[in-house]
């Protein structure tokens, strides 16, 4: 296990880093055709010509993991999971915005 002295460097999962389709599959322990189905459903938006050359913004790892969990746990289909993800992201954005506006009102 990791000792206390060593400092771990992680990878920030934001839009600034891009990862290859092979890495995405390995990290999520999924098959490539599952990733293809997520791209077809518009959940993930890779760059690159064709599935072999796809590169994904690292933030897509978070989205893909969430979709995988929703599919597994809630017995929804891919479109349903994608919709849930969009709505939850929108709700989080609105909640942050409301919190910001509430602070402004208090000042």
């Amino acid at each position: 296990m990791t000792s206390l002295d060593s400092i771990l460097e992680g990878m920030p999962l934001d839009e600034s880093a891009w990862i290859a389709v092979g890495d995405l599959c390995a990290w999520l322990r999924v098959e490539r055709r599952w990733v293809v189905s997520l791209v077809d459903a518009g959940v993930l938006e890779p760059r690159g010509a064709g599935p072999e050359a796809w590169r994904f913004p690292a933030s897509d790892v978070v989205r893909a993991r969430a979709v995988a969990r929703l599919l597994r746990d809630l017995e929804v289909n891919l479109e349903g999971a994608a919709l849930i993800l969009d709505l939850v992201e929108e709700r989080r954005r609105l909640e942050r915005r409301i919190a910001l506006l509430e602070r402004l009102l208090e000042e």
Binding site: M1, T2, L4, D5, S6, I7, L8, E9, G10, M11, P12, L13, D14, S16, W27, R29, A58, S59, V61, V62, R65, A66, R69, L70, R72, D73, L74, E75, I84, L85, V88, R92, R96, R97, L100, R103, L104, E107
Partner: protein, 318 residues
Amino acid sequence: MRFKDYYKVMGLPRTASQDEIKRAYRKLARKYHPDVSKEQDAEEKFKELQEAHEVLKDPEKRAAYDQLGADWRQGQDFRPPPDWGKGFEFSSREFAGEQAGEFSDFFSELFGSRSPFGRPAGGAQHGHGFAAAGQDHVARVEIDLEDAYRGGTRSVELRAPELTADGHVVVKPRTLRVSIPAGVTEGQQIRLARQGSPGVGGGAPGDLYLEISIRPHPAFRLEGRDVTATLPVAPWEAALGETVAVPTLGGPVEMKLPAGARAGQKLRLRGRGLPGNPPGDQFVVLRIVLPPDSPRARQLFEQMKREVPFDPRAGSGP
């Protein structure tokens, strides 16, 4: 170990039908799913729910669980009876799989892979040629806005379930020192490869995903990578368009106000928000503050009153 009252977790009486169990699970799963839920402890609640469902949905496991009796209370100290699992004809060998590593030691002992319920039919044992990757974990890390700006090192306390050599689950606390890169934003995740649960039978360890949460800052409000701060200015600074010192996350910078600046006006300091590609901006909202009362200030205001024709309410009102 502590007793788990699975009926209580699912909010059901012990007499519930299998259909009622299914319905309760679906309803609670929607409520507590960590990707959907707004509840603070959703992750924990959902795990408990999955564990309860794993047992109650399976008539054999449920019957065995029911045999423990109705007198046990949630959290009560518990030892499995020595004859546990005897007399049950095990037909289904469906194992909870991926999530089961996350379940309580109560579950692991009674229904886990080394229990009578976990052994595959036909006598083949897990552990011979059985390998599985470890679980991924998600942990929230709270940091200050200054840490998000500068980056730095944080200690993260984790409680990770671990499988001992004899198949028991123990929860081991561990501390990781993690480098937080400059420019992380609210809700962003950082992936630490191989820092999740250890794998089984030579399987690779899982990964750890740290979710960043940034504490509210007394002076700066954060939105994405942009920060906003209120800047108090004197009436003459606003009127004359003076150059003033503005606190930013990177230290004070000079900003020239536009002449005739208004209260509430929003000015932008490009690239002074959280670092990134592109970096965020800092917005400055002006607040005009009167000087403290003094004979001299009063004298000057009275002079303005006489000499500056101004009706701030002209055009407003009924």
